[in-house]
């Protein structure tokens, strides 16, 4: 680690392709961003935009047919792309932890909670069974599971959804990673549990001082948790900046549409819900212009011909040639 300013994560022009039966899809097409120590970055976008793919490619866990074709991923200065599998295994679970969306299927049904939570310690710290077990109890307490020592010998199906997600969190944090990737951590939970988990996340983040990449489709989650937000559409970043600024001074038309489509308590009952017309583009055949243009009410001919460049000040950038003006 070289100095306090060094990023925990640096992603540079990442390109990921996924080979399907008949075609190859460009799931991630030239994405760059960085995460500073202790920072929470929200990666937001609709289903299929590539945000989960980014999360998986950080760990080298792309699904079959997925391939990182270009770009670099640096964790605390260390280049991860191109690492052989054995070295990647050393990074996974130790320097990067990940929490997945569905807590029931993500846990091994025939393995006790204690064994699963303690496993990263046995893999990376060579801990003995007993040491791993006692540390697991501590971790379960950390994530707010009631009666942690009792839970050690229980099985995943005996716990509720919220409790399981806490277990997943405990597992991800076992080796005190520098970066935690949370891939839709609350999507499978009910609303009250969602809040609890997010609160827990915020608390742990400040206690442990780790960086968090929060992947979600929910703008509300981002608003409440992230220091900075990255908006993705069709495999590309369209807007990035501090959460406050992006929300209050939205620039990209897509981000604007996203925010507008969130129903509000103040919306009158007779007003129709805003939705974005059209469908996301076919990522097997991307075209050259702005990918959102076909659905954008403000698009012009120019938007369709050339990819819009990044504009805006450092701190808040976006790729739109007809951005939202302040006050508009």
């Amino acid at each position: 680690m070289t100095g306090a300013g060094a990023s925990v994560l640096e992603v540079d022009e990442l390109r990921v392709e996924i080979r399907l039966r008949r075609s190859t899809v460009r799931a991630v097409d030239g994405v760059s961003f960085s995460i500073a120590p202790g920072e929470t970055v929200g990666l937001v976008g609709e289903s299929g935009c590539g945000k989960s793919t980014i999360g998986l490619s950080l760990l080298g866990l792309l699904p079959a047919g997925g391939r990182l074709v270009a770009g670099s991923i640096r964790l605390s200065g260390r280049e991860l792309t191109g690492l052989p599998e054995e070295e990647l295994q050393e990074v996974r679970g130790d320097r990067i932890g990940i929490v997945f969306q569905d807590p029931l299927t993500s846990l091994n049904p025939t393995m006790t909670i204690g064994d699963q939570v303690g496993e990263p310690l046995r893999i990376h710290r060579g801990a003995s069974a007993r040491a791993a077990r006692s540390r697991a109890a501590e971790l379960l307490e950390l994530v707010g599971l009631p009666g942690p020592s009792r839970q050690l010998d229980r099985y995943p199906h005996e716990l509720s959804g919220g409790m399981r997600q806490r277990v997943s969190l405990a597992t991800a944090l076992a080796c005190a990673p520098a970066l935690l990737v949370a891939d839709e951590p609350t999507t499978a939970l009910d609303v009250t549990t969602q809040d609890q988990i997010l609160e827990l996340l915020a608390q742990l983040k400040s206690e442990l001082g780790m960086a968090v990449l929060l992947i979600t489709h929910d703008m509300g989650v981002v608003a409440g948790q992230a220091d900075r937000v990255l908006v993705m559409y069709a495999g590309q970043l369209v807007e990035a900046g501090s959460t406050d600024h992006v929300f209050s001074h939205t620039r990209h038309r897509y981000t604007q549409a996203l925010l507008e489509s969130i129903p509000r308590l103040t919306t009158s009952r007779t007003e129709a819900l805003h939705s974005i017309p059209g469908q996301p583009p076919d990522l097997a055949r991307p075209f050259g212009g702005c990918r959102f243009a076909p659905r954008c009410a403000f698009a012009t001919g120019e938007c369709l011909t050339a990819p819009p460049p990044f504009s805006g000040a450092a701190g808040h950038v976006f790729t739109c040639i007809h951005p939202v003006e302040d006050g508009a």
Partner: protein, 318 residues
């Protein structure tokens, strides 16, 4: 779990009763009437009438069933006129030998099939998978009797490693000559291996696709660790039930194997009885094999309940 086991036990009892009903129906579906079938074509009418009266054939069917069931439960499975011995005696002598044959075959088949199927799944679509799959298909698709005769020709006649006939006599004598068991066991095991390994392969593949495997890898677990510490246990759980379900198939295998190798078990007994039209024996063996299968299945289900924590620790319906 106790709820699960209790339910399975009740089901098993019902099935057992139904098996007895089936056998009873078979008993009364014999051509020319049971009496003539048992006593033979040449029996005199007097003998027939006496037999019928003796065995209560003049009573209504449900009564007959009840009395027959009562006799069965007291160990009386009828009398074989062709062999001049009670069916129960014949079975008592032969059943343990078939159990031995079946048991060893299944054990051997599992010991080979589990690693085989596991490797096939881990090396899916690579050369070793194709080779093993091809081999499995071949064994599975070949008539068992042909396989047995090939084994005999190869190992007993051409190379004289193992005897062509199984050892006779009591269980003690059979066990004293293990070489004689090899070919009969192999005949049953080879086909079962093919069947079991396909199942293990697909169960493993299904588990490999699960999310918890991704989580394990995300923790930094090596492929070995993921395979053995996570996948294997989960993939094997349904195999237990499979063994229970395959018992009828195994018993059918013992029939063929015993016939070819002259192994003195229930399969050979059944076959000889079929040729000789010895109905009491046929029915007795059918009943006993049916019971054995149901009990075996129940046992397998109990083992499954013990192995899968989702069943073991839950109060709800699995």
């Amino acid at each position: 779990m106790t709820g699960y086991i209790a339910r399975r036990a009740v089901q098993a009892v019902v099935v057992l009763l139904l098996v007895t009903v089936i056998v009873f129906v078979m008993l009364h579906a014999l051509p020319g009437g049971t009496a003539r079938a048992v006593l033979g074509e040449r029996a005199t009418n007097v003998a027939i009438a006496q037999f019928e009266k003796q065995n209560g054939f003049d009573q209504p069917l449900p009564v007959q069933y009840w009395r027959w069931l009562d006799r069965v439960l007291h160990g009386d499975l009828g009398f074989s006129y062709k062999q001049n011995e009670s069916v129960s005696e014949l079975l008592a002598e032969r059943l343990p030998k078939t159990m031995l044959l079946a048991g060893v075959s299944v054990l051997l088949a599992l010991l080979v099939a589990i690693p085989l199927g596991f490797v096939q799944a881990l090396r899916r679509n690579r050369l070793i998978d194709y080779v093993l799959t091809g081999g499995a298909f071949l064994f599975y698709s070949t008539p068992a009797f042909w396989l047995a005769l090939v084994l005999v020709t190869l190992f007993a006649i051409r190379f004289r490693i193992f005897p062509a006939q199984a050892p006779q006599g009591s269980i003690g004598q059979i066990l004293a000559d293990p070489a004689g068991l090899v070919l009969p066991v192999l005949t049953i095991a080879l086909v079962s291996i093919a069947f079991f390994s396909r199942y293990v392969r697909s169960s493993t593949l299904e588990n490999l696709m699960q999310d918890y495997v991704r989580t394990a890898r995300a923790k930094g677990a090596s492929t070995m660790r993921v395979a053995f510490r996570h996948v294997l246990r989960n993939a094997l759980v349904p195999v237990v039930t499979l063994v229970g379900l395959s018992l009828p198939f195994v018993f059918a295998g013992t029939l063929i194997s015993e016939e070819i190798f002259n192994y003195p078990g229930t399969g050979l007994l059944f076959y000889n009885a079929a040729v000789a039209r010895d109905y009491p024996v046929l029915l007795g063996v059918t009943l006993v094999v049916g019971v054995a299968t149901v009990m075996g299945s129940l046992l397998a289900d109990i083992c499954y309940a013990l192995l899968d924590p989702r069943v073991r620790l839950t109060r709800e319906r699995p």
